[in-house]
């Protein structure tokens, strides 16, 4: 794989560092990009593989504990108390993760947690309890870039997954009535090997699906006797008498297979297909949506080779990817449409937005319904096409151009405009009268463009400010027509030499807001 080697003609630059950080994390800030420029590629990639421990205060009260006891009565005060607490915790988990993505230091961790969440899909639509969901989330967090094969096995027997794809109800019986193909099919089709190989040939048959389902029998999520039938346990159990230990043929191999054997067989008999399938997905996530070109396919092939040689360790694959010449080529820069998380959280992170009710720990005096009602940011992100822990279906978020369909663009443009102008209000809550999601435009401008802050006035400083903000916020250099548009937004038609950020009479705050609003409405802001 050809490495990226800086040359005088193609140096390690602000644009290159920004490209790397935008792809590997969400919403990199000015100071982080500058540090990456200084430290160089290798040191920055090393930094990306640093795990970090998030602030747990929003959820620490209930995680890694047995889920709430569900009352037997389907109605009444006790039931509704339980209901609001459960829904509140589900919302709280999403809010906590959103805040974690914003508070993340320079690290690949959250990007990979998102990758696995969109890959090994589960949803609160079936998995009721936030406690159960957190267990799987933690698994992704702890295995962000470790071994894919081991992770696949862990996910296969994870309680949330056993609930979501019916694995817990897949068991042996005399009449075969309880062989549920659901998980086996998605394991093959979506999680590991894919339906067809690169030549379009089927990777498995319907008989393979059925036999894999047989082999996967026996795993359950124990129900708690005190919980009105809710699946409660945070650990699954293997129950031998529910397991079909007959001899089955799977991908051409005969044996009395169990779950571990199924995973082994897939990774052995469909090694190349699986490696290619996952590396293609990584390519789409980190490099480009164009996976069909000869160049892309050759690159994916090389990634797959590394993946196989590394015995399914993910880190070596990504290390190679992030330091390759292909990753930094112009063809692969600024071409990915932003996901809901990239858009909403990226914007909040880079502007260091304050006053976010979703991120405040629940005050003790509030009712149990508080956090459920305070579901502002998750719903905003849903409108942008991405509701955390509620993917559209088992294939996860489709990504790519679906992120920028008209119905996703409307709330995006609205959100960004409101943030820029400082006109966001809380939906349907006591905060109605107060503005939320605030930031200080002057301080932000001065951080991004210190020169503009230092020099008292002059046309250079206005242009310099626009250029610096565009460099940070847009997916590539603003062209001449965009510069004119942006400068006009900043100056309200006045000549650029009149600009002075420190002169309050010129309303610099309002004008920087107008500039940002114009910038956020450009197609170049919708990409990264």
């Amino acid at each position: 794989m050809e490495k990226f080697i800086p040359t005088p003609a193609n140096p390690w630059s602000y644009a290159k560092a920004a490209h790397l950080l935008r792809r590997a994390m969400i919403g990199p800030k000015e100071a982080e990009i500058r540090r990456a420029v200084q430290e160089g590629l290798e040191k920055t990639v090393e930094r990306l593989f640093t795990p970090f421990v998030p602030n747990m205060d929003l959820i620490e009260e209930w995680i890694e504990k047995e889920p709430l006891t569900r009352p037997f009565a389907p109605d009444g005060d006790e039931y509704w108390r339980w209901f609001w607490l459960v829904t509140g915790r589900r919302t709280g988990l999403a809010q906590w993760w959103m805040r974690t993505m914003i508070q993340s230091p320079v690290s690949l961790q959250e990007r990979m947690v998102m990758f696995w969440t969109g890959h090994f899909v589960t949803s609160f639509d079936f998995v009721q309890q936030a406690e159960t969901m957190y267990t799987l989330h933690k698994l992704f967090r702890d295995n962000a870039w470790s071994n894919f094969k081991r992770l696949t096995y862990e996910v296969t027997i994870d309680p949330a997954m056993l609930i979501y794809l019916g694995g817990q109800d897949n068991f042996k019986s005399e009449t075969d009535e309880a062989i549920n193909e659901n998980y086996a099919r998605e394991l093959l089709e979506l999680f590991a090997v894919g339906r067809v190989n690169t030549r379009g040939e089927a990777n498995y048959t319907q008989a393979d699906v059925r036999n894999a389902a047989r082999a996967l029998t026996g795993w359950i999520v124990p129900k708690s006797p005190t919980q009105g039938g809710a699946y409660a346990a945070l650990r699954s159990e293997f129950v031998p008498y529910r397991h079909d230990n007959s001899v089955k043929t799977f991908l051409g191999e005969r044996g009395a297979w169990n779950a571990a054997d199924v995973i082994d067989t897939i990774f052995k008999k469909r090694e190349r297909e699986t490696a290619t399938f996952i590396c293609t997905k990584l390519y789409r996530t980190f490099v480009s949506l164009g996976t069909a070109s000869a160049q892309a396919r050759a690159f994916i092939d090389e990634l797959a080779n590394i993946f196989i040689a590394a015995k399914w360790e993910v880190k070596p694959v990504l290390e190679q990817l992030f330091t390759s010449a292909h990753f930094f080529s112009e063809e692969n820069t600024g071409c990915l449409p932003k996901s809901g998380a990239d858009y909403l959280l990226g914007l909040m992170r880079v502007l260091e937005v304050q006053n976010v009710p979703d991120f405040e720990a629940t005050p003790a005096k509030e009712t149990v319904a508080y956090r459920w009602n305070l579901n502002d940011l998750p719903m905003r992100m849903e409108a942008m096409g991405q509701r955390l822990f509620f993917p559209p279906d088992v294939a996860g978020w489709q990504g790519g151009r679906t992120w920028v369909s008209p119905s996703a663009l409307v709330p995006r443009l609205k959100f960004a405009r409101n943030i820029a102008l400082g006109t966001t209000r809380m939906r349907d809550w006591d905060y109605k009268t107060a503005y939320i999601h605030t930031f200080d435009p002057i301080a932000f401008a001065k951080t991004v463009s210190p020169r503009s802050a230092a020099a008292p006035n002059g046309s250079n400083t206005a242009q310099e400010l626009v250029r610096a903000l565009a460099q940070l916020l847009l997916c590539e250099t603003a062209d001449e027509s965009e510069m004119t548009l942006l400068l006009h937004a900043l100056m309200e038609g006045a000549p650029a030499y009149e600009w002075d950020i420190n002169n309050a009479e010129l309303r610099p705050q309002e004008r920087i807001r107008a500039l940002l609003a114009a910038m956020f409405a450009l197609p170049k802001f919708q990409l990264y």
Binding site: E181, N332, G334, P406
Partner: protein, 534 residues
């Protein structure tokens, strides 16, 4: 397509041309198009309401695979009850007493949750097409969904959708020139491949009309990957801005719905569509997504709930559209990527094949098309066999509802031709299909090994008779003719050449009585009894 054809088609759809003011940069194009010799040059500004072709199709996509057997239930079929009760710890059948009976069938009836649909059926507004599927049914949701939306064969991979290709051919200048109203709208946040053309997406999705973004800035165009994406997004922003403005206008003109809808997502989406139609939006196709029909567990409970939501939403919509005075030009069609397996898995069912679908509207020929599902002769995966290819439904929609000629459908239907079904009232059917899609007849043929007429239904028939047959010898196939004779041996319908099974015969002109269907090849003659009753 020639410019002139394009204009004729455009006019015939009743879709408003872009107003000149809104498309100022392209005015020259129009001046050119509206040349003096063009008879349509005077008709740009307004809405060309054409009697038959401002028709609207609303597609309800039941993603997840709806169980047709438990939607339109064969309540007299012991095999059905045997299979659905055979192994399940729970009985997954719909009890015969609970099934909602209909007047022209003693074997099929509606799931009790479909009561509103049953009411519409009684009014002659529901057409049930049974056993819809396609060759080599794929059991993956995603793949099968792609096949349904693209209209491809099971082994073809197509990014575009059947309606996308159809609209693209009709409107080759889109999106360079935007009409006032979108051609196709997908309600909600999803924007799938149904309206995707070969080159551009012909649809927009609309979820929220509370904010209309301003028109995007036109940057310098670059041919890099980033440049291409930027231009794509700019176009999307342009469409968003333009079409949200028209949706907002339709909202204000409609002044709310005329009837009340249930307070849930699907009904809200249908209510939105009704307001768009009632508010004068010229959009011809709407797609409403109703996901999560994948009931591997607790199917009885969940499907009951989902069918209730579906039927209530459809019913409210139908009444609303009637109150808006638009019922004559609106039809609903349900689609789902497959049915469910006949034998259950515990309290649910796995992915199946053939299933039924519903077409609802005032102009629909109410009744049942197709014979009853056969739970005793299943395919290799133990799923129901299909008799109608889903693309026959598409062909019927394009031909009968949008007035497309065979030639206008070839791109939409991927260069294949499909026999249309008698879905709409007063429609002249082309009775004879074409042979270039032999797969179509394969499956029904393989049920019975012997040559001859393999099925005739419904019996007795009153309007259209469906005949399925098998002829192994392709020469015989091409020279075969089909006719109907009365008991005195007189031909009552002229012999028809055929090469495609099933074939449809219009028997509306015949008096009640017993007849014989005759299938004649140069060497042999096959017959089957036919009953006509009116």
């Amino acid at each position: 397509m020639k410019r002139r054809d394009f204009l004729t088609l455009l006019a015939s759809t009743g879709i408003a041309m872009p107003s000149l003011a809104a498309a100022a940069p392209q005015t020259r194009m129009y001046a050119h198009a509206a040349s003096p010799e063009n008879p349509l040059s005077g008709s740009f500004s307004g809405t060309l309401t054409h009697s038959s072709s401002d028709n609207v199709l609303v597609i309800l996509r039941l993603f997840g695979g709806n169980d047709g057997l438990n939607s339109f239930v064969p309540y007299n079929d012991d095999e059905y009850y045997y299979a659905r009760r055979k192994t399940a710890t729970q009985d997954l059948s719909i009890p015969a007493e609970a099934v909602l009976k209909i007047k022209n069938s003693t074997t099929m009836g509606f799931h009790p949750a479909l009561k509103p649909l049953h009411t519409l059926y009684g009014e002659g507004k529901v057409c049930v097409v049974q056993n819809v599927g396609y060759p080599e049914q794929d059991l993956s949701h995603f793949r099968s969904n792609d096949i349904w939306l693209s209209g491809s064969n099971a082994d073809e991979y197509k990014e575009s959708g059947w309606l996308g290709r159809f609209l693209e051919e009709r409107y080759p200048d889109y999106p360079r020139i935007l009409p006032d109203d979108p051609f196709a709208v997908e309600v909600g946040r999803n924007l799938g491949r149904t309206f995707m053309g070969e080159h551009t997406h012909l649809g927009v999705n609309i979820a929220d009309t509370s904010f209309v973004p301003s028109k995007p800035h036109q940057s310098l165009q670059k041919l890099t990957a980033s440049g291409v994406e930027q231009e794509y997004i700019r176009q999307m922003m342009m469409q968003t801005s333009t079409f949200l403005r028209s949706a907002t206008r339709a909202e204000s003109l409609a002044k709310g719905n005329r009837v009340e809808y249930p307070d849930e997502d699907w009904a809200r989406s249908m209510a939105f569509v009704a307001r768009m139609i009632g508010g004068g939006m010229k959009t011809q196709v709407y797609l409403v997504n109703m996901p999560l029909w994948d009931f591997h567990l607790d199917q009885l409970r969940d499907q009951n709930y989902f069918l209730t939501r579906l039927a209530n939403a459809m019913f409210a919509f139908q009444r609303d559209i009637e109150a808006f005075g638009a019922a004559k030009r609106v039809t609903m069609l349900t689609v789902s990527e497959f049915g469910r397996r006949v034998t259950p898995t515990l309290s649910g069912t796995d992915h199946g094949a053939g299933s039924c679908l519903f077409v609802v509207g005032e102009r629909v020929q109410g009744g049942i098309i197709g014979r009853d599902p056969d739970c005793s002769r299943l395919d290799a995966n133990e799923n129901l066999r299909w008799t109608y290819d889903f693309r026959q439904i598409y062909a019927s929609m394009l031909g009968q509802w949008f007035g497309a000629r065979e030639a206008d459908m070839t791109t939409a239907l991927m260069q294949r031709r499909y026999t249309q079904l008698p879905i709409f009232r007063n429609h002249q059917l082309r009775m004879v299909g074409v042979a270039n899609d032999e797969e179509n007849s394969l499956q029904s043929a393989s049920i019975l090994a012997q040559d001859g007429i393999t099925a005739v239904f419904p019996q007795p028939a009153s309007d259209v008779l469906t005949l399925e047959y098998r002829l192994t010898d392709s020469l015989a196939q091409h020279s075969a003719v089909l006719s109907l004779v009365d008991m005195q041996g007189r031909r009552v319908l002229p012999p028809q050449a055929l090469s495609f099974s099933p074939t449809l015969l219009n028997v509306r002109s015949l008096p009640s009585g017993h007849y014989l269907a005759l299938l004649e090849t140069p060497h042999k003659r096959y017959s089957a009894p036919v009953q006509i009753f009116r």
